[in-house]
């Protein structure tokens, strides 16, 4: 294989179809993708602002990676299932996760952000690479059910160094599981550049496991959609796992606690700003007449309303009842948890009485 990336939308906004990954592109599709990227970006901006004003403990910005994620999200069928890191805000949005639910975790009131069964997305794992194995196990379950479904497994360039991701590739290929690994190579694992994770392109690794891989322009929402859809279709059809390396860039900090000025150069940022996924899509829509003024105003208004709603919900969010921390440790009653809960309850009651 070569290290060339597949690109359907040039940075200037021209559509160039790829023979292996044809995509029907109409104004309606473009508008849906545009809207989803704008709303993802707004969720990101509002969340950072809420962290900066002390309403959230942390936030993991997604700026720059929205195209890869929104494209992949549109490639999934509702019946497919996804596993992600904390940064797949674009995928959360496309799958219907309410941003307010998402922020429960960063507000510190819950470890869970959504109902996995309803959304078709596993709860993201914070331990890097861990969920790659869950993806494969879930896909093995699909296989055993004989279901017409596939799994999208998202992680980053840093995760590819973990043992769990290696084992996930081994299990996926050994069992021919219907899973597509979607790696966003955003060039940085906190402060460590991708060159410290690998000397060869990440996409080249797949061949060693015996599965096909495709390297795509991760700032091209159409390439992400077309390639991910094709490989999910292939997995559903029983042709086994595949690997996508989406070459993109994390323009924000790793988290709101990070300071990228300590480890990367401003010029790098400028390079990637010029390749922004939303600007590129907008250029194409302007050229093809798919972006009328009324639509833009509508989407902006929707984003503004989203921002207001998220801010109000988070600022008004009460702390949980202290005894809630004892809930759901076990599915069936466990005497130790029951005893510890009773002790806390008695202690709190004594404090209120005195």
């Amino acid at each position: 294989m070569t290290d060339d990336v597949i690109q359907l939308l040039t940075p200037d906004g021209d559509l160039v179809q790829h023979p292996d990954y044809p995509l029907d592109v109409d104004a309606d599709l473009l508008r849906r993708l545009y809207r989803d990227i704008v709303l993802t970006r707004r969720t990101d901006i509002e969340s950072t602002a809420l962290q900066r004003t002390g309403e959230l403990g942390l936030w993991c910005p997604v700026l720059g990676q929205e195209g890869a994620q929104v494209g992949a999200g549109h490639a999934m069928r509702p019946s497919d299932y996804g596993f992600t890191t904390y940064r797949e805000v674009g995928l959360f949005h496309v799958r219907g996760v309410d941003p307010v639910d998402l922020l429960h975790l960063y507000r510190g009131v819950s470890h869970a952000s959504w109902d996995p069964q309803r959304v078709g997305l596993g709860l993201f794992t914070i331990v890097i690479g861990s969920h790659a194995l869950h993806s494969v196990g879930y896909a093995m379950g699909i296989q055993r059910d004989g279901a017409d479904e596939a799994v999208l497994s998202c992680f980053g360039d840093g995760a590819t160094s973990t043992g769990d991701v290696h084992e996930a590739m081994v299990f996926a290929t050994a069992f021919h599981a219907p899973v597509v690994f979607f790696v966003q190579n955003n060039q940085w694992a906190i402060s460590v550049p991708v060159a410290r994770q690998t000397r060869a392109s990440l996409a080249r690794r797949a061949a060693g496991y015996g599965m096909p891989s495709v390297r795509i322009d991760g700032n091209d929402v159409l390439a992400s959609l077309a390639v991910t859809r094709a490989l999910l279709d292939r997995a559903r059809d029983g042709s086994g796992p595949a690997f996508i390396e989406a070459v993109t860039y994390r323009r924000g900090p790793h988290t709101t606690s990070d300071d990228p000025t300590r480890y990367r150069d401003e010029s790098e940022l400028q390079h990637w700003e010029a390749l922004d996924p939303l600007d590129r899509l907008r250029r194409h829509m302007v050229k093809t007449g798919a972006l009328d003024e009324a639509f833009v105003v509508d989407v902006d208004a929707e984003a503004d309303a989203l921002g207001v709603r998220v801010r109000e919900a988070i600022r008004g969010m009460e702390d949980p009842d202290p005894l809630g921390m004892f809930d759901h440790v076990y599915a069936e009653p466990h005497p130790q948890v029951t005893a510890d809960r009773a002790a806390m309850s008695a202690y709190l009651a004594a404090g209120e009485a005195s």
Partner: protein, 325 residues
């Protein structure tokens, strides 16, 4: 009733669980045509097929991590870790994912996974094949920990572990794998596995053990009885939850308690037993709670293990100490 070794009882229990629930599947290394290195899964792949008895790649984290995904999909994976000392590559998945998933999902997603681990020493094995890692798991909220003491127990509790909607670390005392017992493999499964069992009552000393040390304590109680000291023997059976009610009740009458396990004494399960007994029986104790177990060293080469492992004589020595006037 059928006479079975613990290996045969586990095999029969797994078979019955698989017959009763099509969502139960087994995964592990060498569990297919070979039947597992201890033959616990002997014949099961032949009867249930490769989709339900899965020979996994040689990767423990992969086995446990994929089981998490299978559980999310509605399956009930029963995993075999080949030996105690090989569970550590999977420790991350067990502690960070298996143990916590029901909690972090707010009760939406259960993790009905059983992780079977042959544990303990006494079989003359090489390094990493004789360890007692139970305290790590019992110390982790979200896990349940069971360890059968004999074949009859194994037959019943493996099925109860599989039926539990919580993850269960199922520790099999490998030195007792070939001990025989009469197993009731006909009656419906009943009773709770999450309780201790009082196997013998005596007026003078309460012996507390689990897994491989239960038989040792029963033998020690027989020997002590010949010297006129009557011991109770309590099998904890479940290390999470710990059911210390029967222990406390018994120590209130004997005034003396000895906890026995193979794992290092320091910060082991016995420390929790001793602390609870001291808290709840303080004014009834005739002697400090004694602990008999491993030294604070890695499991030694097997020519040392007769000295490392608690045996009847060491339990009798502890009995002498707590009954000394």
């Amino acid at each position: 009733m059928t006479s079975m070794t613990m290996v045969q009882a586990l095999n029969a229990g797994l078979r019955r669980a698989m017959d009763n629930d099509p969502k139960v599947l087994l995964m592990g290394e060498d569990i297919g045509p070979l039947g597992g290195v201890f033959r616990v899964t002997d014949g099961l792949q032949k009867d249930f097929g490769e989709d339900r008895v899965i020979d996994a790649p040689l990767a423990e984290s992969g086995i446990v991590g994929t089981a998490v995904g299978l559980a999310m999909r509605g399956y009930r994976p029963v995993l075999e870790i080949q030996f105690d000392g090989f569970v550590y590559p999977a420790f991350d998945q067990i502690v960070t994912m298996v143990a916590k998933h029901h909690y972090r999902s707010g009760g939406i997603t259960t993790m009905p996974i059983v992780i079977r681990i042959p544990y303990g020493g006494g079989i003359g094995a090489v390094e990493h094949h004789s360890e007692s890692p139970e305290a790590y798991f019992a110390h982790t909220p979200g896990l349940r920990v069971l360890t059968p003491a004999d074949a009859a127990e194994a037959y019943v509790t493996i099925q109860q572990a599989i039926a539990s909607d919580d993850p269960v670390i199922y520790l099999e005392p490998k030195r007792r794998y070939w001990d025989r017992a009469e197993v009731d493999d006909v009656s419906p499964i009943s009773g709770s596995p999450w309780t201790s069992r009082v196997l013998r009552t005596g007026a003078d000393v309460t012996l507390v053990a689990y897994g491989p040390m239960v038989r040792t304590c029963l033998e020690a109680a027989d020997a002590a009885s010949e010297d006129g000291v009557e011991c109770s023997v309590i099998d904890l059976r479940s290390l999470s939850p710990l059911d210390l009610g029967p222990v406390v009740d018994d120590v209130r009458s004997t005034g003396r308690c000895i906890v026995v396990h193979e794992a290092p004494v320091v910060l082991g399960v016995g420390a929790e037993v001793a602390a609870t007994v001291t808290e709840q029986c303080f004014f009834r104790l005739e002697a400090p709670v004694a602990r008999v177990g491993g030294a604070y060293i890695p499991y030694p080469p097997n020519r040392y293990e007769q000295h490392y492992l608690p045996d009847v004589d060491r339990v009798l020595d502890a009995i002498d100490q707590v009954t000394a006037p």
